[in-house]
């Protein structure tokens, strides 16, 4: 589904990704781990199409098409979803409005009619109940005054409403208390299906106790230094990241 080959990207004059390759197939859950500054978030932003990052080499294919040729909104309509590490507050735009606009943008792209107001509310209520979110969040400004945990739940709500084929969740577990972490994990697990791929970008192993990954990759200096199954995450948790660097350097 997602095929990244020798991806090199920089912001300004600083190269952050240096020949990264990664393949993700439908039905799989991948965890991307690594120390701060290893390029995890950059990878997520480049796949979503953030203009601050310049791709200088390599390719990214999504469902066989060149993803780098598409605008951010086109990528989203094609089924790519990025859960932001720092969701943006947008006072004056209510959450329901954003959800509806996003759902309709995708429906229009597929040649479907706009979602019926009743159907939309029913769906939103259902997803919010699953995430333990109060319905008052629908009428509040997007992320406006939300706590860290509320913002992350809100990202998962958007994901649940949009049902992406590829979801990349950037540090969605950071700053969450145990209840929020369980709610977020529940939302991710509910989306797991043979048709979808999920990439969890995380610094800690904690989330992986609740969402079991099929593959774990460790990023170091802008490329994947090591890949393995879920036991790799446990080893990282026990031994830290230094041994990966040492192993690569050796």
């Amino acid at each position: 589904m997602l095929r990244i080959q020798n991806l090199t990207a920089r912001i300004g004059d600083t190269e952050i990704l240096s020949g990264l390759s990664l393949s993700v197939e439908a039905g799989e859950v991948h965890a991307i781990m690594g120390p701060n500054g290893s390029g995890k978030s950059t990878l997520a932003q480049v796949v979503a199409g953030h203009a601050d990052y310049e791709v200088t080499a390599g390719s990214v294919e999504f469902k066989g098409q060149d993803l780098l040729e598409l605008e951010p909104e086109e990528r989203a309509r094609e089924g790519v979803f990025l859960g932001f590490q720092y969701p943006v507050e947008i006072p004056g735009v209510n959450n329901a409005y954003l959800l509806k606009a996003a759902v309709n943008a995708k429906r229009e792209h597929r040649g479907q009619d706009e979602i019926d107001a009743f159907e939309f509310m029913k769906l939103a209520r259902e997803k919010m109940a699953m995430l333990g979110m109060d319905q008052k969040f629908l009428s509040r400004g997007v992320n406006e005054g939300f706590s860290g945990g509320e913002k992350k739940r809100n990202e998962i709500l958007q994901m649940a409403m949009l049902e992406p084929e590829l979801a990349i969740l950037d540090e969605t577990d950071s700053g969450l208390d145990i209840d929020a972490l369980k709610a977020v994990a529940g939302g991710v697990n509910a989306l797991r299906s043979p048709d979808r791929a999920i990439v969890l970008v995380t610094h800690y192993q904690r989330l992986l106790d609740y969402v079991e990954p099929d593959f774990v990759h460790v990023l170091s200096d802008g490329r994947i230094a090591r890949s393995g199954d879920k036991t790799l995450a446990l080893k990282l948790e026990a031994q830290g990241y230094d041994w990966v660097k040492e192993a690569v350097g050796a």
Binding site: E73, I90, P91, Y97, A101
Partner: protein, 431 residues
């Protein structure tokens, strides 16, 4: 060089026009007002308060209008336009067409009622000595005197629709209202300004508002005039002990717009909250000057004006707060935030604080900027295209101030006006 405001005055035509004014308004000291006006002329850009706003267009229209005989009849078609504008807002409406009251005045009285009379029948002192107020007093033919008796709390807002139509001829429309909210009374007032027609047009509006002890007023002014017309408007407010003034002003239209809002805090415990939104496009100039005089404390004043500027246009915001000696316990806050969406847009924002008391809390902040790139990317990453994302964020910038609207029942109408002005029909808050 532009003509000097004084040199350009058509003195003789003005004198003729004033002499010919209807004797229905004997209480207006026209000649004295004219004499003062002729001495000082229109404000020129040499005056600090008028540095950025050039009234040449208003002067030209006034001269042409006087030369044409200064006739201002009321076109028949006004009635339909008025109905269309007032039909969507539930209020008791008074329609003022080309400066003349059209139809009947609301006949409300009694305990909960208000008294609405023609200015000509009420003995009213001349307004402040200011050239535009003098010009208004000299040429005025009709006006409103609204009295909200002690303790009255009318359930519906009073709406005043100022509608002007010019067709081919130049038109100067003079509008004046005196509103007295007596002790303990409460009222909501909606002012709606609209105009149409191809002729040159200048409107001069003067409103004097006083709020008695413990009284309160919610006052919303909506201005959606033709984009070719010029207008100057002054709202002077006096607040007594424990009174409240909540105001929202929306400016969408007009080629040149100048608003002066002056608030005199004369009684302790008074509270003034006033906000504004202006949206300027190609060829528009919108100037908001506000001034609050805190004469006594404790009292609060808070204002926030927001502007959205696109195309070749200019806006001015000048907010002055003066805390007079002895006005301890004053709390004055002012803010002005602007979204500049094009290279050719210009804003001159100036907060001014003059403090002569010790125990005061004053703050001001102004910002000028573009749309937030991270918010744009966030929306695009959700499948929303760039132009929709820009529109959504522009609406959001406006919505943050519109939600402070003091008359809740107006929010749909106000949002619709803004939506249309920003060029789309998305109803942001109704998803």
């Amino acid at each position: 060089m532009r003509p000097d405001g004084l040199a350009a005055l058509p003195k003789q035509a003005l004198e003729t026009a004033v002499s010919a004014r209807s004797p229905l308004t004997p209480d207006l000291p026209r000649q004295a007002a004219l004499a003062r006006f002729l001495k000082r002329g229109f404000p020129s850009t040499r005056a600090e308060d008028w540095k950025y706003t050039d009234l040449s267009a208003a002067i030209d229209v006034t001269r042409d209008w006087l030369a044409a005989g200064a006739v201002s009849g009321i076109p028949d078609s006004l009635a339909d336009d008025a109905a269309a504008l007032t039909g969507n807002i539930d209020a008791s409406w008074v329609v003022v067409g080309n400066g003349q009251i059209v139809g009947d005045l609301p006949a409300e009285s009694g305990k909960d009622g208000i008294v609405v009379e023609r200015l000509s029948r009420a003995a009213v002192e001349p307004s402040i000595e200011q050239p535009l107020a003098d010009l208004n007093a000299a040429l005025l033919t009709d006006g409103l005197h609204v009295r909200v008796p002690k303790g009255a709390r009318p359930s519906r807002p009073l709406g005043i629709l100022y509608l002007d139509q010019t067709d081919e001829d130049p038109l100067v429309s003079l509008q004046r209202a005196v509103i007295d909210v007596e002790a303990g009374a409460q009222i909501a007032v909606i002012e709606y300004h609209a105009s149409k027609g191809r002729g040159g047009h200048y409107s001069n509006t003067q409103v004097e508002l006083s709020v008695g002890d413990g009284g309160s007023i919610d006052y919303v002014r909506l201005q959606n005039r033709d984009r070719a017309h010029s207008q100057t408007q002054r709202l002077g407010v006096t607040l007594a002990r424990d009174s409240a003034f909540r105001h929202f002003a929306l400016d969408l239209g007009g080629a040149l717009t100048r608003n002066d809002l002056t608030i005199d805090i004369a009684g302790p415990g008074a509270e003034a909250r006033f906000d504004g939104l202006y949206i300027a496009g190609d060829g528009q100039h919108i100037d908001n000057h506000t001034r609050v005089d805190h004469r006594v404390g404790p009292a609060r004043s808070a204002q926030e004006y927001r502007g959205i500027l696109r195309g070749q246009c200019r806006a001015v915001w000048n907010g002055k707060a003066i805390v007079h000696e002895g006005a301890d316990g004053t709390d004055a806050v002012q803010g002005n935030h602007n979204l500049l969406l094009s290279e050719g847009a210009e804003i001159d924002a100036k907060p001014e604080l003059e403090i002569y008391a010790d125990d005061v809390k004053c703050a001001h902040g102004t910002t000028v900027g573009q749309l937030d790139e991270s918010a744009l990317f966030y929306l695009r990453s959700r499948g929303i295209g760039p132009s929709d994302a820009q529109r959504i964020l522009t609406h959001a910038f406006a919505a943050s101030i519109v939600r402070e609207l003091p008359i809740g029942r107006l929010s749909d109408a106000v949002n619709t006006l803004i939506d249309r002005r920003l060029g789309d029909s998305l109803a942001m808050e109704s998803a």
